[in-house]
Symmetry: C2
Subunit: 341 residues, 2 copies
C-alpha cells in the first residue's frame, strides 16, 4: 500500500489540508499538531506522488530559470539540447523553462538576470556564465529566498549554489597525460596550450596533465606552457615560434584554446603526423582536426549530459526534496578518436 496524504490525515485525525500545510511548510498549523503529523509522516515513510503533484500544478506550472551565454555559441547548443531533452521528459510534470541569454564578457547581465528571475518567482535556476563576486552575491541572494541554484559547465565557487554540474577538469588533464604516455616514447618533449592561467578552470587541466605526466617518471619534458587567451592570433603565433625552435617536439596538449590555430600552425610547419596532439571538446575545428588525422585524441565533457543532469537535479530538488549527493557532479570524461565520429 502506498502512503497518501489522506492516510496520514486519517491517522493524525486532521484534514488533508492540514497535512498539506505541514508538508509544504506553510503557516497556520499549531506546533504540536505539526509535530504529530511529521512524526506520522516519518513513521509511515510517506513519499509524495509526483504525478499527482504535477497534475495539481497544471494551472500554475513551476518555472525554472536558465541563465547562459547567447544561443549562437556552439558549445552551449549541446548543453541546451540536453536541457531540452530533460524538459521533454518533464513536460507533463508541471514545469516550464525561462531562458535568459546574457553576455558572458562581464558579470553584470548575469547577476541581474538571476535577480529578475527570483523576483519573477521561479522555483529554481540553472546558471552558467562566469565566476565573479557580483554573480556570487546574486546566487546567494537567490539561495536566501529559497530559490535553489545549480551552476553548470563553469562553477561559481564558494557561492550558495546547491551543486555544480560539469567536467572534472583535473581528471581530463590526467587522461590527456595518459594518452600522451601511450603514444609517445622515451624522453618526449611536449608543450601545453592553455587560455589564461589566472582562471582556476584553465589551471586545473594543466595541473592535472602535469600530475599525470609525473606519474610516468621523468621521461616527459614540458617545454613550455603557452597562454593563448582563447584567441587565434596569439595561439598561432606562439605555437608557430615553438614549432620553429623545437624540431624534436613530440606532442601538444591543447588544454584550452583555439584549436584551429593549433592545426594551422602544424600545417604550416608540415609536421602533420609527426606530432601527437590531444585536445578537448568536439567543436567543428576539433572534429575536422581528428578527421585530418592531425589531432589524435579529443577529450569530451558531455555537454548534453551536463544540461540534462542539471535540470533533472533542480526538478528532483524542488519536487521530491532530494539533495544533490555531493556539491560537485562530474560528468564522465570520454576519449574520442577519428573512428568514434
Amino acid at each position: 500500500m502506498t502512503v497518501t496524504i489522506r492516510e496520514i490525515a486519517k491517522q493524525a485525525g486532521v484534514s488533508r489540508g492540514t497535512v498539506d500545510r505541514v508538508l509544504n511548510d506553510r503557516p497556520g498549523v499549531k506546533p504540536h499538531v505539526r509535530a504529530r503529523i511529521l512524526e506520522i509522516v516519518n513513521e509511515l515513510n510517506y513519499v509524495p506522488n509526483l504525478a499527482a503533484k504535477a497534475l495539481a500544478y497544471q494551472k500554475k506550472p513551476v518555472v525554472f530559470g536558465i541563465v547562459m551565454p547567447p544561443e549562437d555559441i556552439e558549445f552551449f547548443e549541446s548543453i541546451r539540447s540536453g536541457i531540452n531533452s530533460a524538459a521533454d521528459e518533464l513536460k507533463d510534470l508541471g514545469i516550464r523553462l525561462d531562458y535568459r541569454y546574457v553576455d558572458n564578457r562581464g558579470p553584470e547581465e548575469g547577476a541581474a538576470a538571476i535577480r529578475e528571475l527570483v523576483e519573477a518567482g521561479v522555483s529554481g535556476i540553472m546558471f552558467s556564465v562566469m565566476d565573479d563576486e557580483l554573480i556570487r552575491a546574486s546566487i546567494d541572494y537567490a539561495a536566501e529566498r529559497n530559490v535553489p541554484v545549480v551552476t553548470f559547465n563553469s562553477d561559481v565557487e564558494h557561492s550558495k549554489r546547491i551543486c555544480f554540474v560539469g567536467q572534472d577538469l583535473h581528471k581530463s588533464g590526467l587522461v590527456a597525460a595518459g594518452l600522451m604516455n601511450r603514444v609517445l616514447h622515451e624522453r618526449a618533449k611536449v608543450v601545453i596550450v592553455t587560455g589564461n592561467l589566472k582562471f582556476h578552470a584553465h589551471r586545473s587541466r594543466v595541473e592535472g596533465f602535469r600530475k599525470g605526466l609525473a606519474d610516468y617518471g621523468s621521461r616527459f619534458e614540458v617545454l613550455d606552457v603557452i597562454e593563448g587567451y582563447d584567441r587565434y592570433a596569439e595561439t598561432f603565433e606562439q605555437l608557430d615560434r615553438l614549432l620553429g625552435e623545437h624540431a624534436d617536439l613530440g606532442g601538444i596538449y591543447m588544454a584550452t584554446g583555439d584549436i584551429a590555430a593549433c592545426v594551422d600552425a602544424i600545417k604550416k610547419h608540415r609536421r602533420e603526423g609527426q606530432l601527437r596532439v590531444v585536445c578537448n571538446d568536439l567543436m567543428p575545428p576539433a572534429e575536422q582536426g581528428l578527421r585530418e588525422r592531425i589531432i589524435d585524441f579529443t577529450i569530451v565533457q558531455n555537454p548534453e549530459r551536463q544540461g540534462y543532469v542539471s535540470l533533472r537535479m533542480l526538478y528532483d530538488h524542488v519536487f521530491a526534496g532530494k539533495q544533490p549527493e555531493s556539491e560537485h557532479h562530474f560528468t564522465e570524461t570520454h576519449i574520442y578518436i577519428p573512428e568514434s565520429l
Copy 2:
C-alpha cells in the same frame, strides 16, 4: 492553451468517454464518429497528459516484464542499475517491473518467460538472452498480442521486436583498429581473439576491426584469429602458443573472450608493456589489467545506458505512443584508459 480530452469532446459534440474510447482504440464507437474525433484530435494537435494518465493508472499499474540472465552475472548488474534508475524516474508514472531471470545457456526458459509475461498481461517486455528460433517465435507471439518487445545488449534479429538497444559492434571494432593504429608503428603484427565466429555478434567486432585496419593500408598483418569460446583454458592455451611462436607480435585485440586468460598469458611470457592490448568492457579483469598497464585500452558499451534507454523506450511507446526512431538504438562507444578509472 493545452488541448484536453474535454476540449475535444466539446468540439466533437460527444462525451469524454467516447473520446477516450477512440484514443485508446477501444470498441463501441460508430466509424463516422470515430473518424470525426480523430480529425479533431489531429487538427488540435492533441497530446495526452502523462501525469494525468499516470494518476488514473494508479489502481492498476502498467507492468513491464524484463527477461535477462541471473542476477549474479556481473555485466548485467550494470544494465540493471540503468533499468532501475529509469524505473525510479518513472515510479510515479504508473509503472511496475516484473523481472524474470533465466538461464542463458538454452533458449527454452527465455522463450517460456516471454509467454508467461504476455499471459500475465504485461504491457511491454525487455529481453536479453540469446538469438534463437524459439525465442524469435515467442517475441513474435508477444508482438501479435500487441505487447511491444525491446531487445537489449544482444539482439534477436528478424524478430518483431520494436527495437534493439545495444552497442554498435562494428564500430567498436573500428575504434579498436584506430587505437591500434595510434599505438603501433610501421608493419605491426596483431592477433584477434574472439569467442565463436559462428555468432553474428562475435563476428561483427572482428569484421569492424579488420575493416578499420584496412583503412590504414597494408601495414598491419593479422597473424591469426583465435576462437576462445569465452573460456579461460582455450584462450590461454592458444595465446600461450602464439606468444611463443611470435616474438615480434605487436598487439592483441580481445574482441570477445576471457580477459584474465589474455593477461595471464602475457605475464607468463613476460611481455608486459611490449604488447599493445585493446579489449572490451569494464569488468574486473579488464579493470585490473588496465591498472597493471597490461591492457592499454578498453572499449565500453555503456551497460547502464542500455538499461535506461530500453525501459524509457518501452514507456514512451506505451504511454506516449512514440515509435523508436530506428529499429537499432546504439549506445555510444567509449574508450577507457587507466586514468579514466
